[in-house]
Amino acid sequence: MPIVDQLDVTFAALADPTRRAILARLAEGEASVMELAAPFEISQPAISKHLRVLELAGLVSRGRDGQRRPCRIEAEPLAAASAWIENYRRIWEATYARLDDLLEMMKREQRNARPARRARRKRK
């Protein structure tokens, strides 16, 4: 799948708070559907539906351990999604780091433009 299409699927899967909560739980270790459903006020079939979306997005895989079929998180699509944003974020961060420097300079200039008042305040 082209990277941007894969990202669409990943972001769509992540766009739901229940699915994000499921992933947060799975980040701590694998769990069965029943264990995953426990903290939520929704039915097990509803959780299964969310899991199916996560599975199709490649974010979760299911084990073959008989009835239990434990779910586990798959890190790769998540890493790709965060790398996509992270590169963009770093460009802004580098740009804004330059703005930080400029603002420090502007603050100094502003202070120096009022030396008389400052000096008076200091003497008090």
Partner: protein, 166 residues
């Protein structure tokens, strides 16, 4: 230390950058509106900004062009201001001129950029929201950071971060 920039995707067509600055709002606003100040920070490593024209009033136009120090390649952004409320808010449309570097952003549909500045206890929070004409345009713009279309030098960025962290 300033809080690092945050990037979120509020909708299919938008990208939002949030960043805090340890400076009064008026200074942050000035740095976004006065050409002699804009030139000092807006842009990219190894790129000069030979054109920076700002007519900050509703309907007023702006033009920003960058030129690569070695290759001489150029690209730019231009558009007009749609909302001006100093020093709290600015909005403008933004057209991309790929110049000699190309790029995946469509040149004919503008992106709508809005800038909001809020000051609290001497710290200014900047929220820059960019709404593109389509999801494809948004994805293209964000993905620009992943290509070498603009010849970003990540090694240099890393140096910059290391310096900051020191």
């Amino acid at each position: 230390m300033p809080t690092p920039a945050q990037v979120t995707l509020p909708s299919d067509r938008e990208v939002r950058v949030t960043r805090q600055f340890h400076a009064p709002r008026q200074l942050v606003y000035d740095a976004h509106t006065k050409p002699e100040l804009i030139r000092k920070w807006m842009g990219y490593a190894d790129w000069d900004m030979p054109v920076c024209e700002m007519d900050v009033r509703v309907g007023g136009k702006y033009r920003w062009y960058w030129k690569h120090k070695e290759s001489g390649k150029e690209f730019g952004f231009y558009g007009a201001f749609t909302e001006v409320n100093a020093p709290a808010h600015l909005a403008h449309d933004q057209y991309y001129d790929p110049g000699d570097i190309g790029g995946s952003m469509p040149a004919d549909d503008p992106c709508v950029v809005s800038l909001d500045l809020k000051e609290h206890n001497g710290v200014t929070t900047l929220v820059c929201n960019m709404q593109f004409a389509s999801k494809e345009a948004r994805d293209g713009a964000v993905a620009t950071g992943m290509t070498d279309g603009m010849e970003f030098s990540y090694a240099r960025l890393d140096d910059e971060f290391a310096k900051q962290a020191a």
